[in-house]
Amino acid sequence: MRLYIEFIKNALLVNSTYRLNLFLRLFNRIIGLFISVSIWRALYGGTSETMSTMGSVSIKDMIMYSIISSAISVFISNNVIASMNDKIKSGQIALDLLKPINYKVWQFCNVVGRNISSVLLELVPVLIIGGLVFSFQIPTVINFIFFLIALLNGVIINFLITYILGILGFWYLEVWHFDRLLQDLVRLFSGAWIPLWFFPKVLVNISNYLPFKFIYFAPTTIYLSKVSYNEALIIILQQFIWIIGLLLIEKILWRKGIKKLVIQGG
């Protein structure tokens, strides 16, 4: 356990060293936030509310939705796929596998460390700017607790998906293709850009079979109290089911992938 805490610390330090990268990511996030708020305002026109599949949604809800979405994105961008791909291609992974550590937990520690440093350097600025320029909605304490649990589960689901795609690198060396496809699917089907409550039925049905909505949409609806406590519990339960399912897929693929692993040179 102490070992893994050291890994987390290490990732935290590495991430905070690349200040320029952090600054650039922050810049992009703030541009994205301003664009989406401007768009929702333009779409709402003069009206303050519109009907959706989850009841009436006000322009204030939409502004808060955009702020939470950019806040969640701070925790979602990880480099698991790229880092695993580099290691498989260079053969470095052989050395990592020799170490007496659980590879998956180690990768997850990197993500956690990165996220902790991002809280201060990326999340806080986004929230301050969001709070200063737009107005904030504060949820009830219970909703906030549910939100935090759902958010954590979402981060884990996102990590497992990227980790599974990283494992596919054992078979297919151009994994960045999957990375791009994943980002595209997440952008639309997670609700990061457009809330699923505005989706037509066909796309809602598709998104129900995908894990992506549990990354952005589910935590945000809980924060905005668009679901009851019971529904929130069901969402969290569904997240756990997805986590278990993804863990199973990961175990099977990892076992097959390790056998398949051929280190080229090195």
């Binding site: 401007s38 639309l188 505005f198």
Partner: protein, 267 residues
């Protein structure tokens, strides 16, 4: 004329190289088309729920979006890869190899690095653009066709110029690709939608400082007859070709100053 022939020789060599890796080539195209199809799908989802965006209809916004994507795809085929490589070449010192050839370095870099990777963007944008034009019932006359060609050409030059200015920064700041990417791709995101929906500061920024609005917004004002969305002055809707030429000349000037700067460092 000789240069043009030489350029085509280079391009045909690069096509042959791409074709050697046919699988990689095709999967690359597929991924580009997929990414932008998702963006189009998103716009469709929005307009499935809302009727207008600040008075702009679904096909009008898609027209605007496609004009940006089309000119981006076209320009990126010519200048994306050379400008991306420039940073690495300056860093590793391999740019010296370009300077000792009996060819204009700018021409040589462009000819050597033509990229088919952006064919996906270009084809997809052209198809969607065609659909928009027929759905919007734009009436064509001799004048509109002339303007259309000039606008596409101007937009192409603006997008090229942005890449060239960004790439030339490597002469001063060695590897600046990340910084450039963030500014080019970040700021360009504003013009995916009509800029009339942003605050004055953004409108000024995109018109007078980083003139991406001339890529698609001002031409759309002309083509879609959106006189209600006129910003600053109605004359700006004809500005794209002139802004394109001026910006491209400026970009070439910055490149030339950059090369002189590079020589003087003697790395």
């Amino acid at each position: 004329m000789d240069k043009l022939l030489l350029y085509f020789r280079y391009v045909s060599i690069s096509l042959k190289t791409s074709m050697e890796y046919r699988y990689s080539f095709i999967s690359h195209l597929f991924i580009q088309v997929f990414t932008y199809s998702i963006n189009y799908l998103g716009i469709w989802v929005i307009f499935n729920k809302f009727e207008t965006m600040n008075g702009w209809s679904y096909y009008e916004v898609v027209f605007l979006y496609s004009l940006n994507l089309l000119s981006y795809g076209l320009s990126a085929m010519f200048v994306w890869a050379p400008m991306r490589q420039l940073g690495d070449m300056v860093q590793q010192g391999t740019f010296d190899g370009i300077l000792i050839r009996p060819l204009n370095p700018f021409f040589h870099m462009l000819a050597k690095n033509f990229t088919y990777g952006f064919l996906g963007h270009t084809v997809l944008a052209s198809v969607v653009f065609g659909i928009c034009i027929s759905k919007l019932g734009i009436s064509w006359s001799f004048m509109t066709i002339i303007w259309f060609v000039l606008f596409i050409f101007g937009a192409f030059l603006i997008q090229c110029a942005m890449f060239i200015i960004g790439g030339s920064l490597s002469f001063w700041f060695v590897n600046s690709s990340q910084l450039v990417d963030t500014f080019i791709y970040g700021i360009r995101r504003f013009v995916d939608y009509p800029i009339s929906l942003y605050d004055t500061f953004i409108k000024v920024l995109l018109t007078f400082i980083v003139p991406y609005a001339f890529v698609n917004f001002y031409p759309s004002i002309y083509f879609l007859n959106k006189s209600s969305d006129t910003l600053f002055h109605p004359i700006l809707q004809y500005g794209t070709p002139i802004v394109g030429i001026l910006l491209f000349l400026l970009a070439y000037k910055i490149w030339s100053i950059g090369i002189k700067h590079y020589e003087s460092t003697g790395s």
